[in-house]
Symmetry: C2
Subunit: 371 residues, 2 copies
Amino acid sequence: MKREILNITSKIVRSVLTITLICINSQFSMAQKTKTVFHDASKFYLYGKAINTTTRYHRIDTATYSDLPATIKKLLTHSAGLAVVFKTNSQTISAKWCVTEAKASNNLTPIAQKGLDLYIKKDGKWQFAGVGRPTNTCSEFTIVKSMDGTEKECMLFLPLYDELKSLEIGVDEGSNVVSLENPFRKRILIYGSSIVHGASAGRPGMAYPAILSRNTGLYFMNLGISGNAKMEKSAARMVSDIQADAFVLDCVPNPSPQQIKERAEDFVKTVRAKHEKAPIILVQSIIREQGNFDLDVKQRVKQQNEEITAAFDRLKMSGIKDIYLITADKLLGDDHDATTDGTHPNDLGFYRMAEQLGPQITKILNQYNIK
Amino acid sequence: MKREILNITSKIVRSVLTITLICINSQFSMAQKTKTVFHDASKFYLYGKAINTTTRYHRIDTATYSDLPATIKKLLTHSAGLAVVFKTNSQTISAKWCVTEAKASNNLTPIAQKGLDLYIKKDGKWQFAGVGRPTNTCSEFTIVKSMDGTEKECMLFLPLYDELKSLEIGVDEGSNVVSLENPFRKRILIYGSSIVHGASAGRPGMAYPAILSRNTGLYFMNLGISGNAKMEKSAARMVSDIQADAFVLDCVPNPSPQQIKERAEDFVKTVRAKHEKAPIILVQSIIREQGNFDLDVKQRVKQQNEEITAAFDRLKMSGIKDIYLITADKLLGDDHDATTDGTHPNDLGFYRMAEQLGPQITKILNQYNIK
């Protein structure tokens, strides 16, 4: 009888333990399976826009500039330099997004070309939090999970080298998510080549205009037009239409030396005509590391930089004020390791560019109270 | 009459000028069209090999280790860390190569995964010269052109994340090309995860073991096994079979904390049994930047590093000598920007790792006259 009671007691204890464990497991599974609610990102502020567009994630309404070359129009549909900003206390942040079927570039990671890159503010600084890895033309991905439940300011950088067709942000059911206001001050436009556009950053947030914004708190607008920043008259009109406190022209790598000679002064004068007081900062071409051994490439960059310097001197002589020239021989460091392909900075290169350019640009801007 | 003579003279001068220009152009075209002669790269020394293999560009003959997991066997067919070294006075260097149809990784550039990366010695240093961009499963690409015609020492890093099926080096017809001898001293094996393997370098030469070789002159062997460096008994036997002067075990990121606890001591003892005096250097896991906000990831890395530290302490207590532990909390810097995806270093991360690890490793090796 005593043994039977003991047995029954033991069975009851085991059952209670089992039920308790099931409950704990079930709670754990429930916690793991918190439902994700998706919000169309069009409800959140979009940082980096230079001008309003009919298609949200395009950089420019190219219909306005019918004489722009077709390639440029296509490149301006890329969401380079744009970022959605919002505030949430969700412990998980996901995204669903669609891009086009554009082919992979051999000097870009798919994350940089078609993916997403999340920063969150911590200790007063924007810090990397996670990426959205593209898995197909349309992708769904958990960017970051298992965060503490405090409210966080988030900035999600969009694909550098593709057109973003749609974007939804996913947060835990029951959590809050609202738009942030513009977290950056003033407006500085950077017009330039693939290097401005973001090749070959490893992820969207590592393009140098994005790093400059995070480092300085200033609102940099990315008007990088890969391979095609050649200072055409149509491009000059487009740039001059943008409301900006300052203009950075990093457009020496694409045009030939002859084109720089023929176009640079007109370009600057077109911008100056619409922006009487805005500082205009010309940037020489960074060294092409391919030119470390290729003497033709080395010579071409040298000529490009000579022509932009000569154009700058002529502009100064002609009485154009508030223009500046940043020399570029040290922007990538001196170990020749800061590119992915001999032309486009890797993340080491972009880091160095931002470290070098940032203080030089802000020093100029400070004189105009742009800070 | 005078006018006629003048006209005839003028015509003759024009004709001579035209012929001269045609000759110059034709010479120029000929120079441009110098024929490329391709040489099978099997005639050149292959740096980075840990052991002889029946298939030249595999890192290990996995048939020898039948109990290795299948994924590891596949990863060991990747040519990560291998480089062909040769000497040439050609002004152009090209390559023809074939890899497999393995899919693109979203955290790698195709150049890193399937491409080539050329360094040339200049002023006593290995310096970047150009890349081979993969265009298909089989590709042909001009890596560098328009060089001066002096003799140069060349090192061509092979694809990080694919099996190299064939490789031919192309040089100008009439130029010399011969193998170099091994340009590096001693032999140091690095066994480790995807981070050793080279994800997410922008190009093959930016994986950290390759940077360490260039920076130190020492022969580092890359035994990175992406996601699978879990210190299995079979892996311990494989590592211990390699003739090396020192062993670096950067294999904390892949195994669970429990696996580290169960396997690390056995692994080190297996290596020590075959290499009585070789220093064995354990490296903690680098911070996972994903863990900047993901508390689970942060906790896991903390536990992994606690377990490797505890295993190291137990090994020391048990009387195993010539072992070292490198802590890793600062290897990627402190700005959280040094990865492509929150786990894998970008080129900024690899640069920082090499800057931090290099002096710590060489300081240890110097004590053993490994320099």
